[in-house]
Amino acid sequence: MDAQRVNLDGFAAPDPSLGLVAMAAPADPAPSLVVNNGRVVEMDGVAEADFDSLDVFIARHGLDLDVAAETMALSDTDFARLLVDPFTPRAEVVRLTAGATPAKLARVLALLRPAELTMAMTKLRARRTPSNQAHVTNRLDDPLLLAADAATAAAFGFREVETTVPVLADAPSNAVACLIGATVAAPGVLIQCSVEEAAELELGMRGLTSYAETVSLYGTEQVFSDGDDTPWSKAFLTSAYASRGMKMRVSSGAGAEVLMAGAEAKSMLYLESRCVALARAIGAQGVQNGGIDGASVAASVPSGLRELMAENVMVMARNLESCSGNDALMSESDMRRTSRTLPIVLAGSDFVFSGFGSIQRYDNMFGPSNFNAEDIDDFLAMQRDWGVDGGLRTVPPGRLLDLRREAAQVCADVYRYLGLADFSHVDLAADAAGSKDLGETDTLAVLGAAQAIRHRGLTVVDIVAALDECGYPEYAERTLAFVRARLAGDYLQTSAIFDEQLSVLSLVTDPNDYAGPGTGYVPAPARQAEIDAIRQVRGVADLRRSQSALAVPGLLRPVGTACAGTSARDVVIGVSPALGADVWRCLSGASVADVLREMLAGLEEEGCVGRVVRFPATVDLGQIGLAAARLSGSGIAIGLQGKGTALIHRRDLAPLANLELYSVAPSVTLELYRLLGANAARHAKGATPDPARNPYSDEAIEARYHTTVIALMELERARVVPGAAPVELSLEGLL
């Protein structure tokens, strides 16, 4: 048990003095609010004269004092119930929450149990349609790989792509490469390049990026100052982004203050409640939280995952966009990281991940995300299993490669046309799983391209012109349409994304209207079909096709109605209706011909003579075996189904009894089929052989094979002729 990967994770003893407590520390203040002549004179137990800078900003800008008295008079339990109750409209929760102090909202959220948090999230997220964000980065800042990976992300359905750099000066190149790549695969994907503010703002002003989220808030004044900001500088920065028409959200989340030894003995949820109140106060439209870089800190304490989800719900209740974390690998255990993310997938969020690592873990310059490139198939299966929309869709493998090659090619052409760089590794980048597959690359060329973009002041219009000149007018028009759409400003509203028709989906245009079963977001039929049609899905027609490709015509030629044998050495091998007719390969991968050959050889070794008889009247192996035994001169028979299940029967047994049985068809080897033949012969001779044993395994045999079994049995069933007599089959084809 010690070897399980969960034991690599750190689990902390709760210690309120360090802030190592999820939802309620002794030092958390009791909620309070005293308003005098429209001015807050006490908040959460602190008198106005003692307000720190966060308190001041929240008290002056963050609270709706018209509703505050009503809100603060609600008991924590009554308030908590409103969050969960489907019949209390979201708007009512939003109205009341606007009057809640940080301590009040933290206490209320701490009351919600996991299923209640899921309910609250379902109801309270701002946008009706859930969505998802991807991280697209690589160790080399290779533009062609970034373009290909951005195309991959856009193709899978991510509506925001966040990139960043290992080398700060590469930032402009990363922004351009991601913009081009995403545009090739889908219109309207928002691009972010997470770097320091001045550089990030510059990229946005030039239209090369379209949103920002690396504007960090912290829950104590000390850590806020250590982060080199104040609520006023952040409020100003928030306006600065909007003034350049850029969407932005702030970042916060549990654990940041603990990591800085600055939690002031407060719980994570309380400190985050201050951040979220401040986010609303400074006028940000949304918050990225749910631990973020501190997710593992929250995960190390009791109820830590509950705290992370409560953070997201708090954001939603404050009428802000939630970008819901899940972006840091919070455990070495696949089970724990799935457990962390699943409830948010089930509830649906504005962005289920604030960065699903759509690239290789090693290429993620934010650090590995909680889900990464290798988890995309798992995530798509999760969506399908629960019938929920996590924002992603299946991309046919051929289409994916085409898009990646096109994105890399377009990027190379644009860089060449603009005189930025001359890259020729288009195919290498398109085929690469990650930067390790690129071999030696010219990183100085990347730096040169980035510097050229910056110093020449290239804008999105230069990219549009280059796309056009390089023979890609469709992508040029797509990029330009996005520029026009941004200028309308609709995407500055809460929870805004563009859909692929460039319509804005936001709190304003696509408000969440969940009010219990039968309401709220349901995927449209076309979207549901997309969710359901993962690439691994197989049906009977697929199986019939793959089996018929293996057909051996004339293998088991019918020679007439089978008669009862007379020799004591006669052993019948009874086969099912479709074996050697529509079914040619057993679940183990062995051909039915080889299986029959081994059985016949085993019989022969022990001095018996086998013959093969088809029983078209039934698919039931017990019936087939018993009927075969009754035809056998020896009274012993083998029964065999197309899927490979086999048994030894005797004419005087009940149909469902048998002498020996291989029930785990996928694991039966040719040697074991030979042994079954030999044992059947031993039974025929009146001996008592050591029974052949099923080869059991610890694999998910049923998960792997049941869908195939169902299809195989359908092929058998289709061949059934009720009441038909058994048919003797020629062995010539087996020789």
């Binding site: 960043t164 700060l168 690396t214 056009d468 400003g489």
Partner: protein, 151 residues
């Protein structure tokens, strides 16, 4: 999209066509958002239960008139320990005089609070302008250790 939407340059957004790009007629000011657009969005935000977002968009509308360098310089001036209270008060006055009353109020409030919370630079040291570029004090980025939430 609203047909009346114009870029900061005054140019109707619908004029931003591929043909216009082909004859090199599109400049940076054609890509910038217009203050009236921000004001319109502020009204919508107010109607949808978020007066703080509305206030932010109105501050933003004022800032569309400032050049990028000045916007970044004001941000820098508001960071902890960069400005004395007097300098912030002066800055607020200048913003008010230039028709940016909402931003002026924000800076004036900072001046008041920074003194009490020791976020102002001690008045004894040198005077404010010119501000260093903000990039001299980068937000800890993804290549830096915590505390920044770098995702």
């Amino acid at each position: 999209m609203n047909n009346e939407t114009r870029a900061l340059s005054g140019r109707p957004v619908d004029d931003l066509t591929l043909d216009a790009v082909r004859v090199s007629e599109v400049g940076l000011a054609d890509l910038r958002i217009h203050p009236q657009t921000l004001e319109r969005q502020a009204v919508i935000a107010q109607q949808h239960g978020n007066p703080q977002l509305a206030a932010n968009l109105r501050r933003a509308a004022e800032l569309t008139e400032l050049p990028d360098e000045e916007v970044l310089a004001i941000y820098e001036a508001l960071r902890p320990g960069r400005s004395s209270a007097a300098e912030l008060t002066t800055l607020a006055g200048s913003l008010a005089d230039r028709g940016l009353p909402r931003n002026a109020a924000l800076v004036a409030e900072a001046a008041e609070v920074y003194v009490r919370r020791r976020l102002a630079r001690a008045a004894a040291t040198s005077s404010l302008p010119p501000q260093p570029p903000a990039s001299a004090h980068p937000e800890p980025g993804p290549s830096s250790p915590p505390p920044a939430n770098s995702r």
